[in-house]
């Protein structure tokens, strides 16, 4: 059974308070911060761009003056556009709702991220177990001044802890915070 207050020999030395809350730190009561709003805007623009470009290509092939398409493809054209449009629309709607759900929190001893639209999960990575930290930036991220923070533990690549869409400054700060943490820097 879960004990309400597991006692450990180190309890006196241990500190991991989220300044404002009750004695024991609780995941359920984390004060989560949202990621940058730009992240959603970028995703929405990517979704619309990709959809539009695909539709444009299909339309160009359909209506181009240079060569004639086979009869079947001409017949299929509206369906193809319909499918691309629907999938693109779903992709767009997903990001409209899901991206605002991505939130994170940093405590003295761990970082947490909450994400997910239908299946919402909160994952918590103790800094003690961090093996290395990456700040990743693709071309679009660089243009928008955003960055993705990746935290690796011995849990394997499948379980890389990742916070996307952080303003670069924040990402660097968190990275530094983790690196300066006595448990990580001690090694």
């Amino acid at each position: 059974m879960v004990s309400e207050q597991p006692m450990t020999p180190q309890d006196t030395l241990f500190s991991n308070q989220q300044i404002m809350h009750s004695e024991l730190p609780q995941l359920a009561q984390l004060q989560l911060e949202p990621i940058s709003t730009k992240y959603r805007i970028i995703n929405l623009s990517i979704a619309s761009m990709v959809t539009l470009v695909l539709i444009a290509i299909a339309s160009f092939l359909r209506f181009n003056p240079f060569f004639e398409l086979p009869e079947d493809l001409i017949y299929a054209y509206p369906f193809i556009v319909g499918v691309i449009g629907t999938l693109g629309g779903l992709w767009f709607v997903y990001h409209v709702f899901a991206d605002t759900k991505i939130k994170y929190a940093i405590r003295e001893q761990d970082i947490s991220k909450q994400a997910g639209l239908i299946f919402r999960g909160i994952s918590c990575q103790p800094i003690l177990r961090v093996q290395h930290v990456d700040v990743k930036r693709g071309p679009i991220d660089r243009w928008a001044g955003l960055a993705k923070l990746q935290v690796f533990s011995a849990g394997g690549e499948m379980h890389t802890f990742e916070i996307p869409g952080l303003p670069l400054e924040n990402a660097e700060k968190i990275r530094q915070f983790i690196l300066d943490h006595k448990d990580v820097s001690a090694r």
Binding site: M1, V2, S3, E4, P6, T8, P9, Q10, D11, L13, F14, N16, L24, P25, Q26, L27, A28, Q109, D110, G116, I118, F119, R120, G121, I122, S123, C124, Q125, P126, L128, R129, S153, A154, G155, G156, E157, M158, H159, F161, D183, A186
Partner: protein
């Protein structure tokens, strides 16, 4: 076994591990190793080409032609020559606490491994090494298989000395680390002082041939043999059908002739099936004997050492502190025979497929009795009790969830198709599959549970068989709590705990329980600050 061990141990102490400035050559027996390895890699590359070649040239007809002889002898000469070249191009030295290796013919490779970074030392004895007393030493770093270094042929005593040296080196490294740490678990201290003097090996478990045969029957180890026999499949099938024909049994006739009554036919089918099953079981027993013959599990200080193998003797050692999780697996057949497969799992950062049984990341104790399983698990994790826990079971909604999310739509589709097309067999089939799935899900729900006794976390799971998992919460790498919208409404949540050996998930637990457990695990990790390694 013990005599052997102690004899080699005494020899170990007199051997100089450091080979000095000069580069060392391997013993010439390595040529055999390199040749075999090169042949295998060549064949692995050619395996897709062979069927094509066989079809186009009709190999067997041309086998007697001079071209074929020239071709075959050229291949043999080339591979043998490549073995010698590989041997000449390979040199190593152990110097200044580093293992350095130059290897490769076209792609030269230089490996430099500090002794204290070596995670695992595996000593392999291929059968052609054994009469001459040589060994293959595999040095494993940080889990990644690509960084594995092999010292291909050294005298066995040297291999043992090298392994001992690596362990001492690591212990000293640990000592300097733990000296800074807040607390040092007393286990670590004794190991550091104890290691230099004498290494006493205590044998914890041995498996008799009978045990291994049981293991072969209860576990499918067919692939060990099938994999090795793959090139001969065609011949075997040809032989079997000829043999059957001789006995007057013609499969084609059986199917064609209307004269045979259906029950006769099904009797034949049943007999054939039984024969196949028996053959497979025999193969599986053979495979099990091949890998597990002479199995011993022993402990030397804080290490567990496993030795086994019929032709190729294999030795795997694992530090006790590295064990992340104990898994006791019991399939339905194991349950009947009251046997358990026990696994000690280490970190599996090496994501590529290592053969499970050989893997240094999983130490298997095959088909032990239930009592032995309890003893061994308590040996590794003192005070753990897999069976005596009151497990927090998961919610029945688990069954409902999977039935509705994954199975209802295909089921309804099949029913509709069946009814519309008036094929009642489709409907019946759909019903039976659906109820079968429901039954399995119910079994799964019934088994799945979690318990926490302040020291260890236990998970029970399975469908027909049962697996028990046990791990220490302070070794956890990451914790996740997941909830769908519907689960939130019902105050249920899924807990996923990531360990270095992999993730453990328990779904549909009460929300409050999950959060309390997650918080407890985090506190355990963050406050004790004990190393997971």
């Amino acid at each position: 076994m013990t005599d052997q061990v102690s004899a080699s141990e005494s020899a170990v102490n007199n051997i100089q591990v450091d080979t000095g400035d000069d580069w060392q050559r391997l013993s010439p027996i390595a040529i055999v190793y390199f040749t075999i390895r090169n042949i295998l890699t060549t064949f692995q590359g050619l395996i897709y080409v062979i069927p094509a070649l066989a079809v186009t040239f009709n190999v067997f007809d041309n086998l007697n032609s001079p071209e074929a002889y020239i071709g075959i002898s050229a291949i043999i000469l080339l591979t043998a020559g490549s073995g010698i070249v590989s041997f000449i191009m390979y040199k190593f030295r152990v110097h200044n606490q580093h293992v350095e290796i130059h290897s490769g013919v076209f792609q030269r490779r230089y490996t430099n491994l500090p002794l204290w970074r070596i995670q695992n030392v595996k000593i392999e004895l291929p059968f052609y090494y054994r009469p001459f007393g040589y060994a293959l030493v595999v040095l494993d770093t940080a889990g990644s298989g690509k960084e594995e270094a092999k010292i291909v042929a050294v005298p066995l005593a040297y291999a043992h000395a090298l392994r001992k040296r690596v362990l001492i080196e690591k212990a000293q490294q640990n000592e300097s680390v733990t000296a800074n740490a807040l607390t040092s678990p007393d286990g670590d201290k004794t190991l550091i002082t104890g290691e230099q003097d004498e290494e006493k090996e205590e044998i914890l478990n041995t498996r008799s041939v009978g045990d291994i045969i049981i293991h072969g029957i209860t576990n499918n180890r067919v692939w060990i043999i099938l994999g090795a026999a793959a090139p001969f499949y065609d011949d075997v099938f040809g032989f079997v059908s000829e043999w059957l024909a001789e006995k007057g049994l013609q499969l084609n006739q059986l199917v064609d002739e209307q004269a045979i009554a259906w029950w006769q036919f099904s009797l034949y089918a049943f007999v054939v099936l039984m024969m196949v099953m028996a053959a497979l079981a025999l193969l599986s027993v053979g495979g099990a004997l091949f890998t597990f013959y002479g199995y011993t599990l022993s402990r030397a200080d804080d290490r567990y050492i496993r030795r086994s193998g019929l032709l190729n003797k294999l030795e795997v050692s694992m530090r006790a502190s590295r064990i992340q999780m104990i898994t006791a697996k019991q399939d339905w057949l194991d349950k009947i025979l009251k046997r358990v497969n026990l696994y000690f799992e280490q970190n599996t950062t090496a994501s590529q497929q290592v053969q499970e049984l050989m893997s240094p990341n999983k130490l298997i104790v095959p088909s032990v009795t239930e009592n032995e399983a309890i003893e061994l698990s308590q040996e590794v994790m003192p005070g753990c009790n897999l069976h005596a826990q009151t497990y927090q079971t998961i919610s029945k909604r688990f069954i409902l969830h999977w039935l509705s999310v994954a199975w209802t739509v295909p089921f309804l589709l099949a029913i509709t198709v069946g009814v519309v097309s008036e094929h009642m067999d489709v409907v019946v089939l759909a019903f039976s599959i659906f109820s079968g799935v429901a039954l399995l899900l119910t079994l799964r729900w019934w088994r799945w549970g979690i318990a926490f006794d302040r020291r260890y976390i236990y998970v029970r799971r399975g469908r027909v068989g049962v697996d028990y998992l046990c791990f220490e919460p302070y070794k956890v790498q990451q914790v996740m709590v997941k909830q769908s919208v519907f689960m939130k409404r019902r105050k249920l949540a899924t807990l996923k705990v990531v360990l270095a050996s992999g993730a453990v998930t328990v779904p549909f637990l009460p929300e409050s329980y999950v959060y309390r457990l997650a918080d407890s695990i985090l506190i355990e990790v963050e406050s004790t600050r004990r190393s997971w390694m």
